[in-house]
Every structure is written in structure tokens, then in C-alpha cells.
């Protein structure tokens, strides 16, 4: 006999930084899934919570300050509430920031949703000297309010209990927000006109009336498509003209009215004055005129040292492990073709190992960055770096993906989601591959050590600097040509500092790290397979060959050789670069194989064939040319367009070619 479970649909809404994710995680635990809102690059988090005999399906809506039509997040949030009609909307409100948080609450109430407020961060409000009369607040708003302290899970049981209660009751006592009478009469006029049309079947009439007066472009467009909508819109222009003549801009009037209402409520329900907090004191130091940027650089350096050195043993371990697996399985199948492909020195297993040995580095990087994000420092970093970044044509928030690119470009490109302006974001995505990722570091270090002796460190450093210089140059060019536009207004909220949660950082590290792992793993596997096949297939007989000189891939290399004559490459370097297209780490191994020597000797071999300037030029090419296929896949996903992806690939190759050539000319010019 199956238990009949009631199914309740709940949405979580609230400002950014109010602790929504913590509450979501506490409620859903492992029963959650992160994906994308269809057609948009915004995370969608959904999950389940079991309460007695009921299953509660929870969707975490994007954090928003308001429900206008100006940003993707706001449109997603309100469309979910309107069309998906959740049974309850849990509005998470930051008790230490009531005034601004209630602005969204009022709009949710206007939308007609059944709301339960989770008054979060009660402990913080207390520390700041605020005394909140929750019962009074409940009375004033007419909706249930449950105090919570999310990290300690205080209040969550009551929250769920109340939510279920509200979901199952048919009564809902939320107050209808009445605006000052001058505006109210126009709203009611509009309401009566709207009620005569089909609009009332789909949307809440009052909400539509208010939004039309607020000149909400999304609502206007949707109304125009409904029968009777045209007439409403005509009447709307009349009304607006009337208001503007007599009272002023309706949008501003309505926003002001809301804030007035909030002020009134707060004066009745909240007492106390905020004192100078630890957060403010820290900010004075962090945002210090002279020390702000140095502190930022210090923290940056720390993140890198921590991630690179801390993960090194795990990376080495994984690398060795795969080599061990590969060599011990060698000759297993007895079929040379498959054997070589799978277990050979440059076969799939070991190639995969080379790449997966990266994962600890990425995880550590993510972990460290998550700690800083959670602590609240990231927004300060964007603030501190905004002005210098602006000078270089980038927005302050671009600094985060630029930092992450030093570990791996793929997660860095996903991280560009934090940049609100589309054009800024596109510039950030297109320039990110120019930043030296960990894979390239591995390659450069090995080659530099053999070629440049005591100056190896300088050589590698100059490649890093080259990458960054190119990022700025390309950004400036893009911003002045195809991606021209005014820089978006810089408005960012500083959440209060808090001790970062180890658990949250680990969860985020795992989430993002495993995402990379899955994506990279599958894409690279295919790439290795293809390249492996091309390398062991003889170009003329299509039979197995263990002599790469006669393989298809060498034919391809030789085919392109004429183009690279000015750069002084032979076909083997071209082929190695093609290998690098799959994954940069395998360039060295590939070169070794192509020259017929072991990986330990390849550097010396190349030293005998090329002079340091030529090799440095080659390294600059590798630094700047197309990103690895996983990065390309990430670019495609985040830009949503083949056009930009192809552009990224093409401009990279051209830029790399030119710079390589310049290096040769200047280098040989100086040193002969």
C-alpha cells in the first residue's frame, strides 16, 4: 500500500547575500541538483525536503533586489512565480538590512504570491544593536515571519512547518499594499480597465496595473499580446501623461511610496541604532587608499601558493598512478593498434592521467577562492581593483576570472557569470584564454629549465606577463571596436564580513571541481582518441605504424609546414601544437614521441636543434594560440554563440603567429 505523499512546490526568493544558499543547502542536503535556467546562463538550484508525509520541492530563485524587468535574474524570478505558481514563496530577509530587503518583499506581495518570511541573520542584527519586534512586524505586513539563524539551523523547522501550513490553507492574509491616494486612484482606474479583458485570467490584475504604471517593458510587451491588451495600453499612456502633469514620474512615485511604507513599518517594529562594526573596521584597512591594492595582491599570491604547492603532491601522485596503470597494462590485448592507443606511453590512459593530475590543483584553487567568496572579501576585491581595471578597459569584477585563469581557463570562463554587463562579460570570456593556465605552466617550466638555465624563472614569468599584457591590449581593442559601449555602472553591495564556512567551501569546491572533471574528461578523451588514431595510422597504407614519421598526423604537419617557415618551426612542432589543442600538458610528451626520444631527453634534443630565441618564440605561440578544446567548449557554452567561439579561436592563432614572429625578429636582431 503506497503512502500518498503530498507534493508542495516552494520557491526561495531574496536579496543576494542574505544566506539563501545556506538555507537551501540546509533544507535539501544532498537531495539537490544544480543546472541552468533554460536558455540562460544563470544557475538553477532545485531540491527536495521531506516533512512528515509531504515532499517539498524547493527551487532557489536567483538573488534579486527587486522584480523589475531590467536583469535576467529578476525576469527569471518573477516568471517562475507567475507561471509556475509555487504554493509558497519563502522570502529570505536579512534582519540586519531590513529596510532594503523589504522592498523586494512588498513586490512579492504585490505579485500575489503566498509568502512566508524567513527573517535571517537575527544574530547579526542583535550584534549590531538592532531590536526587532517580530510580532509587530508580522502585524504590519500581514504575513508570517519566522526568525532564523541559518548557519546554526535555528528556526528552520518552524519555517517548514509554517510553510506547509500556509501552502495547505486557502486563506491568505497578506495585506494589499495601498499607495498614497493620489496614485491609488489611478491604479484602481487601470485595474478596472484590465479586469474587463482576458488579462485577468493569467496575471494578478493589481500587479499588472502597478507594473504598467512603472513602465515595466516586459509586462507591457506581454500585455500587448493578450486580447484587449492594446486598449489597455492606450489608456495607460493617457493615464501616465495625466500623472506626469500633476504629480511627476509614476515610476519614482511608486518606488518612493514603497520605501515610505517600509520606513513606517520599521519605525514601529525596529528599535536600536547600529554601532561601528568589526566589518567596518576591517573595511577601513582593506580599502585603505595605499594598502588596499597591496593587500589584494598579497591575498592573491597566498591563494596561488596555497593552491599550487598544496596540491602538488596530489597532482604528482595522480600522474604517477596513471603512468603506473598504463605501463602495467601494456601489451594486454596483444593487438598493437589498441595496445598502443590505450596503454602506450602517449596513449589514452597516460594522456588522461596527465590531464586529470590537474584536478587537485583546480580543486584547491576553487576551495581557496570559495573561502574568500564566503568571507565577503570578493566584492571588496572588485571594488579595490575597479579603477585600475577600468583604465584597461575591464570591469572590476573581471579580476576574479582573471585570477582563476591562472589555475585553469575553463572554470575561469564559467566564473565570468558574476559580471553583470554583457559586453564586459564577453570581453572577459574572449581574453581569458590568454592567461597562462596551470597546464601551460607545467609545459613552460620543463622547457625553460632546459633552455634558459638560471634565467628559466624569468622566461616563465615573462610568458605570464605577456599573457596579461595581451589581455589588456585585446580588451582595449575590443572595447573600442566591436564591443564598444559605455562601461556599466559600478554598483555593488558589501555584505558583512564573516568567518567563511569550511563546509560551504568544500561543497563549492567539489561542485565546480567535479563539473570540470566530467566535462574535461569526456572532451579530452575523445580528443586523445582522435589524435592517437591519427598518430598510429600510416598515411599511405592506413595500417598500424609505430613510426610517427609516416603517420597521418605527420602528413598534416608537413602540409602546414610552409606556413610556419618564417617562425622557424619544423613539422614536428606543428604537430605538437596540434596535440596542444587537445590539452596543453601533452605538448612535451608529444614532441618527445615525434622526435623519437624519451621525455627526459626531449629538452636537450630540442636544444641541439633550435636556439633559445626560436624556442622562446614557440613558447609565446603556445601561450597565445587557441585554448584547449575544453576551453573552447566552455566559451561556446557561456557565449551561446558559434560566432564568438570561432572568433576566439581565430584571433588567438593570428595573434600568436604575429607575436612569435616579432619575438624572432627582435630577438635575433638583438642577439643575432
Amino acid at each position: 500500500m503506497a503512502t500518498i505523499r503530498k507534493f508542495i512546490k516552494v520557491a526561495l526568493a531574496g536579496n543576494p547575500n542574505v544566506g539563501k544558499s545556506v538555507i537551501f543547502n540546509n533544507l535539501t542536503g544532498s537531495r539537490q541538483h544544480v543546472g541552468n535556467w533554460p536558455g540562460k546562463t544563470v544557475d538553477k538550484k532545485e531540491g527536495f525536503h521531506r516533512y512528515k508525509d509531504k515532499e517539498i520541492y524547493i527551487v532557489d530563485l536567483p538573488g534579486t533586489y527587486s522584480l523589475t524587468a531590467l536583469s535576467v535574474e529578476e525576469v527569471i524570478a518573477r516568471e517562475y512565480i507567475i507561471y509556475e505558481k509555487p504554493d509558497v514563496v519563502i522570502n529570505i530577509v536579512d534582519a540586519s538590512n531590513l529596510e532594503r530587503n523589504l522592498y523586494l518583499t512588498l513586490q512579492l506581495m504585490e505579485l500575489g504570491a503566498k509568502i512566508v518570511v524567513a527573517l535571517n541573520k537575527m544574530d547579526l542584527a542583535e550584534k549590531e544593536g538592532l531590536i526587532i519586534d517580530v510580532d509587530r512586524l508580522e502585524n504590519e505586513l500581514g504575513i508570517p515571519i519566522i526568525p532564523t539563524v541559518a548557519p546554526k539551523k535555528i528556526g528552520l523547522d518552524k519555517l517548514i512547518k509554517k510553510t506547509v501550513e500556509v501552502a495547505e490553507s486557502h486563506k491568505y492574509s497578506g495585506k494589499i499594499i495601498r499607495y498614497p491616494s493620489e496614485i491609488e486612484k489611478y491604479i484602481q482606474l487601470l485595474e478596472s480597465i484590465i479586469s474587463e479583458t482576458e488579462i485577468r485570467r493569467i496575471y494578478r490584475v493589481r500587479w499588472v496595473a502597478v507594473k504598467l504604471l512603472e513602465n515595466d517593458s516586459d509586462v507591457i510587451e506581454k500585455i500587448s499580446k493578450v486580447k484587449g491588451g492594446e486598449k489597455v495600453l492606450e489608456k495607460l499612456s493617457e493615464i501616465r501623461r495625466d500623472i506626469e502633469k500633476k504629480l511627476g514620474d509614476p515610476e519614482i512615485l511608486i518606488a518612493d511610496a514603497r520605501y515610505e511604507l517600509i520606513k513606517d513599518i520599521i519605525s514601529k517594529a525596529v528599535k536600536g541604532v547600529k554601532k561601528l562594526t568589526a566589518s567596518d573596521l576591517i573595511d577601513h584597512a582593506i580599502l585603505d587608499k595605499y594598502l588596499g591594492i597591496p593587500i589584494f595582491l598579497t591575498i592573491l599570491w597566498w591563494v596561488f601558493q596555497f593552491a599550487f604547492i598544496g596540491s602538488a603532491p596530489f597532482c604528482d601522485f595522480l600522474g604517477d598512478l596513471f603512468v603506473y596503470i598504463g605501463t602495467s597494462l601494456e601489451g594486454l590485448t596483444g593487438i598493437p593498434y589498441i595496445d598502443y592507443l590505450l596503454f602506450g606511453e602517449y596513449g589514452i590512459i597516460q594522456g588522461l592521467g596527465a590531464i586529470l593530475s590537474f584536478v587537485p590543483l583546480i580543486m584547491m584553487l576553487y576551495f581557496a577562492l570559495a573561502l574568500f567568496e564566503d568571507s565577503g572579501y570578493m566584492s571588496r576585491a572588485a571594488f579595490v581593483m575597479d579603477r585600475p581595471m577600468k583604465k584597461l578597459g575591464l570591469s572590476g569584477r573581471t579580476i576574479v576570472p582573471m585570477i582563476m585563469g591562472l589555475g585553469c581557463n575553463v572554470p575561469a570562463i564559467y566564473a565570468t557569470r558574476i559580471i553583470p554587463d554583457e559586453r564586459d562579460r564577453l570581453v572577459a570570456i574572449l581574453t581569458n584564454p590568454l592567461i597562462t593556465c596551470g597546464a601551460r605552466l607545467v609545459l613552460f617550466s620543463a622547457i625553460a629549465a632546459a633552455f634558459f638555465g638560471p634565467f628559466a624563472g624569468d622566461a616563465v614569468l615573462s610568458l605570464y606577463l605577456l599573457g596579461y599584457v595581451m589581455v589588456f591590449l585585446v580588451a582595449i581593442v575590443l572595447r573600442n571596436t566591436i564591443l564598444r559601449g559605455r562601461p556599466s555602472p559600478f554598483v555593488i553591495e558589501f555584505p558583512v564580513y564573516q568567518k567563511p564556512s569550511f563546509k560551504v567551501a568544500v561543497v563549492r569546491m567539489w561542485d565546480r571541481g567535479s563539473l570540470f572533471f566530467k566535462k574535461a574528461g569526456s572532451v579530452i578523451l575523445i580528443g586523445l582518441l582522435v589524435i592517437g588514431l591519427l598518430t598510429i595510422t600510416d598515411a599511405s597504407t592506413f595500417m598500424f605504424t609505430d613510426n610517427p614519421e609516416t603517420s597521418i598526423i605527420s602528413a598534416i604537419g608537413r602540409f602546414f609546414q610552409p606556413i610556419f617557415v618564417p617562425l622557424g618551426w619544423d613539422w614536428r612542432l606543428i604537430v605538437a601544437a596540434i596535440f596542444g589543442f587537445v590539452a596543453k600538458e601533452i605538448v612535451l610528451g608529444a614532441s618527445a614521441m615525434l622526435y623519437g626520444v624519451g621525455e627526459a631527453e626531449i629538452a636537450d634534443m630540442m636544444a641541439s636543434m633550435y636556439d633559445p630565441i626560436d624556442i622562446f618564440g614557440y613558447l609565446t605561440f603556445i601561450q597565445l594560440y587557441i585554448p584547449c578544446i575544453v576551453t573552447i567548449a566552455a566559451i561556446k557554452q557561456e557565449t551561446g554563440s558559434w560566432r564568438w567561439t570561432i572568433f576566439a579561436v581565430v584571433y588567438g592563432i593570428i595573434l600568436a603567429y604575429i607575436v612569435n614572429w616579432l619575438v624572432l625578429i627582435i630577438g635575433h636582431g638583438i642577439f643575432g
Binding site: P151, A285, I295
Partner: protein, 164 residues
């Protein structure tokens, strides 16, 4: 606590001093190898190496200096009776602890890196030694330990930052 003032100045001085030494050593090692200049070590000789070990890395040195400057500003504001000194003291302390932890992580990672082949029975020819470690017990650890008691001067601020 009045003792905070001189202690902060001493800590600031230590960070700046060792920062400068690291920068100098870094220059000598990386960029001016041909001049034959000697590296500087200022510390106690123990187990074949110095404590603290001012390993040659200019960037590390620069950032030690930054921490020293943060403490210096804290002392300066304290001297001027400006309440804001506590923020700088707290930030300095946090950075100091971060560097201490980093040093520990580096040593642990180096040890792990040396001995993991044992997991599949492989011989480890060269064991890990303090002297052979790239960082060893660096100023990050030593001065970090010296700076840790600053905790007591900023205890209440830290309490505010912990949720709940």
C-alpha cells in the same frame, strides 16, 4: 592594552626586515647570479639550515613587507588615538596567520610529495629534510607565531565575525 603598541611596532619591523632580506636574496639568486653576491640569512642555525629561512623569492618578500606596513599603520593610528587602528590590527593578524598556515601547508606538501611513492612500494632515495625544503621554517612561520598573541587584542572583533 598598552603593551599592544610596542609589540605591534616590533612585529611590523620584523616583517619588513625579513621581507627586505627575502627580496634581496631573490634578486641575488634570480636576477643577478653573475655578480657573485652572497645571500643573507638572519637567524639561528639549526638542523643544517637557518630558522627562519629567508628563502630567495622577491614576491614573498614584498608581501611580507606589505603585512609589516599594515601593522605599522595600526601602530600609527593607535599613536594618534584613532579607533580605526583595531581594523588594521585585525587585518594584519589575519594575514599573519594566513602566512603561518601557508608555511605549514608547504612543509606538509613537501613531505607528502617525497614519501608518496611508498604507497606502491617504491624506494625513496632522498628523504625529506628541513634543510632540503624550499621554504623550510620561513619567516612566515616564525613571525606568524610571534604575531599570534595579537589575537587577544582583537578577540571581540573576531567574535563578531563568527555567525551565531
Amino acid at each position: 592594552m598598552k603593551i599592544v603598541y610596542p609589540v605591534t611596532i616590533v612585529i611590523s619591523f620584523l616583517y619588513i626586515l625579513y621581507g627586505l632580506i627575502q627580496v634581496y636574496n631573490g634578486f641575488v639568486e634570480w636576477w643577478l647570479p653573475w655578480t657573485g653576491l652572497e645571500k643573507i640569512q638572519l637567524g639561528v642555525k639549526l638542523a643544517g639550515t637557518y630558522i627562519p629561512n629567508s628563502f630567495p623569492e622577491p614576491f614573498s618578500g614584498i608581501f611580507l613587507i606589505v603585512i609589516g606596513l599594515v601593522f605599522l599603520k595600526a601602530a600609527y593610528l593607535y599613536f594618534k588615538r584613532d579607533e580605526k587602528y583595531r581594523g588594521y590590527l585585525l587585518v594584519g593578524w589575519i594575514l599573519a596567520i594566513m602566512m603561518l598556515v601557508l608555511n605549514v601547508v608547504v612543509i606538509l606538501a613537501d613531505i607528502l610529495d617525497t614519501y608518496y611513492p611508498l604507497l606502491w612500494g617504491e624506494e625513496v632515495e632522498e628523504g625529506w629534510t628541513l634543510a632540503g625544503d624550499a621554504w623550510g621554517i620561513a619567516p612566515h612561520l616564525v613571525i606568524g607565531v610571534i604575531a599570534s598573541p595579537i589575537y587577544f587584542a582583537v578577540k571581540d572583533l573576531i567574535r563578531e565575525l563568527i555567525p551565531g
